[in-house]
Symmetry: C2
Subunit: 183 residues, 2 copies
């Protein structure tokens, strides 16, 4: 149920089109939630059917018309209900395809493991740079409906940074271990 609630949360910062919501996910939430464009549009129409959102079509010259969504009272209530619900069980419901593959990589020759971990290191480094030099969450501070919201955005981004730093250190250390075995 998380994408729907993520969309509610963003719409609480102001009315938006599906296209703009998609950009928010790509630009600033991607490090903890990858959403497909098609899914965003689908969820939005489901949510409108549930009465959580209302929409207005805004005609534009030069560009395709926009369908702007707004939170309804029921939508805001649902957002608050979700935020207040204990989600302990869901919070640790992880699925990490990278670790799943790595777990079995001993079946292949050690060079494969070194390659996989080195590439992971690179990906972490790139992601860390993107999160730090941003474009991303810090710049969105201006859109925060309250200063408290911006504070949580920073805490979330901080998790991302620490996560990538940890990933880099772990990958380097692990590559080291595997290289020793080849010698």
């Amino acid at each position: 149920m998380s994408l729907k609630h993520g969309l509610l949360g963003i719409l609480d910062c102001g009315d938006m089109t599906g296209y703009e919501l998609d950009r928010v996910f790509r630009d600033s939430l991607a490090f903890f939630w990858h959403a497909q464009t098609s899914q965003i549009y689908r969820e939005l129409s489901v949510m409108e059917g549930l009465g959580w959102l209302s929409s207005t079509i805004v005609p534009q010259a030069d560009r395709p018309n926009k369908k702007v969504y707004s939170l309804t009272a029921a939508g805001r209530e649902e957002l608050l209900r979700w935020l207040r619900t204990d989600q302990t069980a869901d919070d640790f419901n992880t699925k990490n395809p990278f670790l799943m593959r790595l777990f079995f990589l001993g079946i292949l020759p050690p060079e494969e493991g070194i390659r996989t971990l080195s590439r992971y290191r690179e990906l972490c480094a790139t992601a860390l740079e993107a999160l730090s030099s941003e474009d991303s969450i810090e710049e969105y501070r201006q859109f925060a409906p309250t200063p408290a919201c911006a504070r949580y955005w920073a805490i979330t981004a901080d998790f991302g940074k620490k996560f990538y730093e940890m990933g880099i250190a772990w990958a380097e250390e692990s590559v080291g271990k595997l290289e020793e075995l080849i010698k």
Copy 2:
């Protein structure tokens, strides 16, 4: 496609029943992959249909009969194919429901944020202990088909430990930041 391949990977260590595969997921892979019992049974029969697995029913006195699955040649080929495939895109396809909720928690009073982060800290501490004092991956070393496999298991577990340690440090720091705002 990861659960199917995870099951292939485990079955490469030896024949097993759905029930035993379920226990392996619960006991030692849970920190990177939570699988439902019902899904495991369903995927196993799909995989048998694909020709990746074969099964034998082993009658037991005193206990319900067992259905023991084995990798077929086609199944092992699929496992190798999957391991050799570049999965860069999938590796960073994250979905973190905890961060999704936290991101919007500024809407609620700060006490809620402190409670949420403190509980997260506790969950990390519990998970870290479980991973360290284990029961889990280290003890499974004996089941590794090759020593290389056990090495990757340890590298994966090390990721888990570092992840939880990072989570604890981050949660403590963040609670500190939020507490300052209340005073």
